[in-house]
């Protein structure tokens, strides 16, 4: 009798302590939730750029696959930093377990994230990073960041272009919204990768096709010896492509993102290559990170999302459309990539 009693005591002690231990290894204090009761809210930049539509698709499809609820909102416009903060505020006051955010500037969502952190809800930051200093000042906490290493992506592009056009040539640079961290990283990365080349610009074209067209025209007129162009995103690369066509210039132009229109242009030849990002994968990772957190698991602090250079050599594979809604192709990279989140989700 005494033995069974002591065995019972030991068993109770073991299970109690394992429960306690399980609790302390979580990244946050949220209780475990069943999949179907998890509610996720997301605020992306603007839906006038297909890149963010890709993120939206990734979030919505992944949510559907796992059976969780997702509400994807977007800022009213690509430069409406205040409007985006308003949106996140609106959602912060509602009953969501987790928030996926892509800030327009590195600071504009910090206060809203602070409010969410105060409510002890999880925040996952994807694509564009929130500045850590302003986040800390607002008392905000980001559980996980998943985004492309824009510097590395730019660098790969720079190296490839120099390999294609030769050393010591002049390359035109078209940047995004002034002061934007993502744009700066890509441009700086490209310059680092394009060793020995000289550069014209960077000129800001606010992520806009027409502005990029105008900027490229000006550069072409002023520099007759331009050997190539790099635009910090595909929509701007499209503008550059149009300018080159109008000028009858056949020099390479690289973009970044991998949106459907750009892929079509790569196939047609008006854009030479795009350093494709995988917004669908980012959205997927965001949802998965949310689920892990809601289930009380430990979320990896940061993950690099994949990029691939797509040009005429691998365009056909990229154009395969795997979207369930037939939306657009190139959702996942043509090769393997690292998704540390999937394994951590408890079914």
């Amino acid at each position: 009798m005494k033995l069974t009693k002591s065995i019972k005591v030991v068993l109770v002690a073991i299970s109690a302590s394992s429960l306690v231990l399980a609790g302390t290894t979580t990244g946050n204090a949220a209780p475990k939730k069943a999949l179907k009761s998890i509610r996720i809210a997301a605020v992306v930049k603007g839906l006038d750029n297909p890149f963010f539509i890709g993120i939206k698709e990734g979030i919505e499809e992944t949510a559907k696959n796992y059976g969780v609820f997702a509400n994807v909102q977007a800022a009213p416009g690509l430069n409406d930093d205040i409007g985006q903060a308003n949106k996140l505020d609106s959602l912060a006051g509602q009953n969501y377990d987790c928030y996926i955010v892509i800030p327009i500037s590195s600071n504009n969502l910090s206060q809203a994230v602070g409010k969410i952190t105060k409510k002890k809800k999880t925040v996952i930051n994807i694509d564009s990073p929130i500045d850590s200093a302003s986040l800390a000042a607002a008392g905000g906490k980001v559980t996980s960041f998943a985004g492309t290493d824009n510097f590395a992506a730019g660098k790969a592009g720079g190296a490839k272009m120099v390999a294609a056009i030769g050393a010591g040539k002049k390359i035109g640079l078209i940047a995004g919204l002034a002061g934007n961290v993502t744009s700066n990283a890509r441009i700086d990365g490209f310059k680092a990768g394009a060793a020995g080349a000289t550069f014209v610009g960077p000129v800001n074209a606010d992520w806009d096709t027409t502005k990029a067209l105008d900027a490229a025209n000006a550069m072409i007129t002023a520099n007759k010896d331009l050997a190539g162009f790099f635009a910090a995103n595909d929509q701007m690369a499209q503008g550059v492509g149009k300018a080159l066509k109008a000028a009858g210039l056949k020099i390479p132009v690289y973009g970044v993102d991998g949106i459907a229109d750009a892929l079509a242009e790569v196939k047609a030849g008006s854009i030479t290559a795009t350093i494709s990002q995988y917004p669908y994968v980012m959205g997927k990772m965001g949802v998965e990170a949310c689920i892990i957190a809601a289930q009380g698991g430990k979320v990896p602090a940061s993950t690099i999302t994949p990029y691939y250079i797509i040009d005429s050599s691998n365009i056909s594979a990229a154009l395969e459309n795997k979207s369930t809604r037939g939306y657009f192709p190139n959702q996942t990279p043509p090769g393997a990539y690292n998704d540390p989140y999937t394994a951590l989700i408890k079914k």
């Binding site: 416009g77 903060a85 308003n86 949106k87 509602q94 504009n108 002034a178």
Partner: protein
């Protein structure tokens, strides 16, 4: 018998005054100017009622109403300035760039160690300066205000980029954060600032000589000139007001965003024009109020908030806002 007689007398009197009331109301409802004043209030009530009915647990919470007030603060300040310019039959298309220019000036001063108050002053003075340029060119050179302020939109925007070298400056300030995040009696500080400006604007417009002259300048500039009102001075003044208020809005934007951003926010401009029209201010000048556009701003922000809260996709949100504005503008028949 007597009692019944008395009753029927009373009834007759009552129905006579009732029919007076009804015919009075009928006259009022047929008057398009009645609607231009009251439409925005009715529309606002409809929007709140709509979202309150379909999602009371999410929309009608104190937290959410607080969000709406915060979101409406910056647009409110801009709209007061815009109202003054539109009342003179003008318009200020440079407000969003002026706001950015003020914010960037603030940022420059702040990172150079100036005191918070001086930085705020710089933003307002910078905004007023842009307004002064607008006013001088419009009033003295007699060039169309649409064109001048459109040009100034680019000039101020470019100046902001030059001053900031295209880079945002982080502004970390305890006081500004408190301003942006906190509230008293559930009214956010930001909205208190905005509301004070609304009150000052209302008072100036309806209780000072200057306000009457603004209405006269917009209503009939020839008549105003004939009575000796200096149209030039009035026009310059309203653009300075608009610019200075844009500078104030720039300070509040910094408090909310945490940095002085060099890129102009065009949504602010478009919403200010929408709110001015919705609020019953005639684009031909001379007729309007300050409270109308203020309520219209609250309406627009409530609409944006409500649609987000009930999960309407972003595409439909653009559509809804546009529809509301067009519908209201067509109902408000302010013909000249």
């Amino acid at each position: 018998m007597k009692k019944r007689g008395n009753n029927s007398d009373a009834l007759a009197k009552a129905s006579a005054s009732d029919s007076n009331l009804i015919s009075n109301l009928q006259v009022k409802f047929k008057d398009p100017f009645f609607w231009s004043d009251w439409l925005v209030v009715v529309a606002f009530a409809v929007v709140i009622g709509f979202f309150g009915l379909i999602a009371p647990a999410e929309f009608l919470t104190l937290w959410n109403l607080n969000n709406i007030l915060v979101a409406a603060s910056i647009p409110t300040i801009i709209v007061v300035g815009q109202t003054f310019t539109v009342l003179t039959a003008g318009i200020d298309l440079s407000v969003s760039s002026t706001m950015t220019f003020g914010a960037v000036s603030f940022g420059l001063a702040f990172t150079n160690g100036w005191s918070l108050w001086k930085c705020c002053l710089i933003s307002i003075v910078a905004g007023a300066f842009v307004g002064l340029l607008n006013g001088l060119i419009i009033a003295k050179r007699k060039i169309n205000d649409f064109i001048v302020t459109l040009g100034m939109l680019s000039v101020a925007s470019g100046a902001a980029l030059v001053l900031s070298d295209g880079k945002p400056r982080q502004i970390i300030s305890e006081s500004l954060s408190t301003l942006a995040i906190n509230d008293k009696f559930n009214i956010p500080y930001l909205m208190m600032v905005a509301f004070v400006i609304v009150l000052i604007g209302h008072f100036t417009l309806f209780h000072t000589k200057f306000g009457t002259h603004v209405l006269a300048t917009g209503g009939d500039p020839d008549a105003a000139r004939a009575m000796g009102i200096s149209i030039v001075k009035v026009k310059i003044a309203v653009y300075v007001i608009s610019g200075a208020l844009a500078g104030v809005a720039g300070i509040l934007a910094i408090s909310r965003i945490g940095s002085a951003e060099p890129a102009a926010n065009t949504a602010i401009l478009l919403n200010s024009v929408a709110a001015v029209v919705l609020g019953g201010v005639s684009l031909f000048g001379g007729r309007g109020s300050i409270f109308g556009p203020f309520i219209a701003t609250l309406l627009l922000q409530s609409l944006l908030n409500g649609l987000t809260v009930i999960g309407v996709a972003a595409y439909y949100q653009y559509l809804s806002i546009g529809l509301v504005v067009i519908l209201s503008a067509s109902l408000v028949r302010t013909e000249k």
